[in-house]
Subunit: 299 residues, 2 copies
């Protein structure tokens, strides 16, 4: 299959990235990061989340972030929402889109959000209804699509089932998350293969952590199957507080570098992206997780 | 095209890896590393080089390394040789195979070994004749197959021309080196496409540095084209002293992890490989360049 001509990059750094950083991050830094990402041409930014701040303290100021960030035309500023209350907060803060989530592993669902997968989907029903009323688009995430830190291998059919339920509930797209980064290209293709039996490939995205260094190879394999929406985080920020060893999303800079080489359009300027990455890693006092950023900084 | 069922891993850590490390490394450490790699099931180890120690001081003790290492049946202990004198030293030290090299970029050839590409190939003629007489197999390397730090993009036809010359001189295999790691899967496929027009795909290998994080994706793309010999370095050691920013071969651990996931045989035990990587990074007092090693060490 030919590679897609265009890829939509979903930048999750300000949410999935920052939520797991040990240093406290001010609202102003978050706002500046988001504005720099938009200036670089990123058209979809997950800018915050409205989960209980007791669980994810880094996201406590998301209301303020959404209120303060100066908006660019054509850019989606999305929020992760766990329930109706979160959805209402996201809406009043000015999120242009929201995301909901479910695990493909029962044990992960229990440990992460203390309920079964079905219960977790049920909890989203009121938020989905409210989103329909407010004409707000909802994106779905499935986590642990290859492996679960508690259960090990996750069957592709389980992923397909959860992804299909999210679509039936009204999500316009489902992002398949290899939360622990254990997958290789064969695993990712098996999952995509299973899900695309029920969901058009255009409505599937991949969200791959680089814990085992496989993320870019997996994205390449996904592109070959027709996937054209890819999640990534500036400077490879991120991880999952509930999955040991799940450090780091694939770095947006490294993704953009690969897409440039493949001649795939994405609308992002690598130079400005590197500047956004340099900004946030300086603020976080951490090394970049992007090899491209590290290589070009050496020059 | 279907992926190969078996991949031969060419471990270049003890040579291409160590030659660029800042710490001085004792012969005993090199010998132990090579023995640990063989114990892990690696069947091809580039164990040293016989270049002028003035230029590559880390390889000064290669004679002693070859003499001291206890050999395992079925394992190739190869040496990089720059000329007849180097070949003779390699032979008397007990190398079971040698490698010669040429750049695909004229400027790189000039800066690296102070002669044109044709001159560099000519210099190998006496060594090739001696290898034929001694019944020693010779592997060829082409460096800068995608980009050159001085010239920028390198045309695939230039690579094909140099690779074909190495084969005509009597090499049994040519390894295509992305010395500066700038390539993406499209670049690598273009180079393989060009070279395989003249050289059977079974006689081509890839040697990819991970400077821009693209190495595993590039290897995956190469496997899809039928490449079944892949160079890598334990713990992602290495770089090139003459190419700025050319840090790090693809880590053998990460390659093995991907091959395991793809169901491709390679004969290497990941657990023992991780131990070899842990051994050498401890001796070098550096972090591992393998994400798999880092992830599994966290557990």
């Amino acid at each position: 299959m030919a590679l897609p001509t265009h890829v939509r990059i979903v930048e999750v750094g300000p949410r999935d990235g920052l939520q797991n950083e040990p240093l406290s991050i001010s609202t102003d830094v978050k706002v500046t990061l988001i504005e720099k990402l938009a200036a670089a041409g990123v058209s979809y930014i997950e800018a915050g989340s409205f989960v209980n701040p007791q669980w994810v303290p880094q996201m406590a100021g998301s209301d303020e972030v959404f209120q303060k960030v100066s908006r660019q035309p054509g850019v989606t500023y999305a929020a992760l929402t766990p329930n109706l209350k979160g959805f209402e907060r996201a809406l009043s803060a000015g999120a242009t889109e929201v995301a909901i989530f479910a695990a493909a592993s029962e044990t992960f669902s229990q440990k992460n959000i203390n309920c079964t997968i079905d219960e977790s989907l049920g909890r989203f029903e009121p938020a989905m209804a409210a989103a329909r009323d407010a004409n707000i688009r909802v994106r779905g995430y499935v986590s642990c699509v290859v492996g679960c830190p508690y259960e090990g291998d996750v069957p592709p059919d389980k992923v397909r089932h959860v992804a299909a339920q999210l679509m039936q509930m009204g999500c316009y797209e489902v992002s398949l998350g290899d939360t622990t980064g254990v997958g290789t290209p064969a695993d990712i293709q098996r999952v995509i293969d299973a899900c695309s039996a029920e969901i058009p490939i255009e409505q599937l995205a991949v969200h791959l952590h680089d814990t085992y260094g496989q993320a870019l190879a997996n994205i390449y394999a996904a592109l070959e199957m027709g996937i054209s929406v890819v999640d990534s985080a500036i400077a490879g920020l991120g991880g999952c507080p509930y999955a040991k060893g799940a450090s780091g999303n694939v770095a947006t800079e490294d993704l953009v570098y690969m897409l440039n080489g493949l001649g795939i359009e994405h609308g992002v300027d690598l130079g400005e992206l590197l500047e956004a990455g340099s900004y946030i890693t300086t603020k976080l006092a951490r090394d970049t997780g992007s090899k491209v950023a590290a290589a070009l900084a050496d020059r």
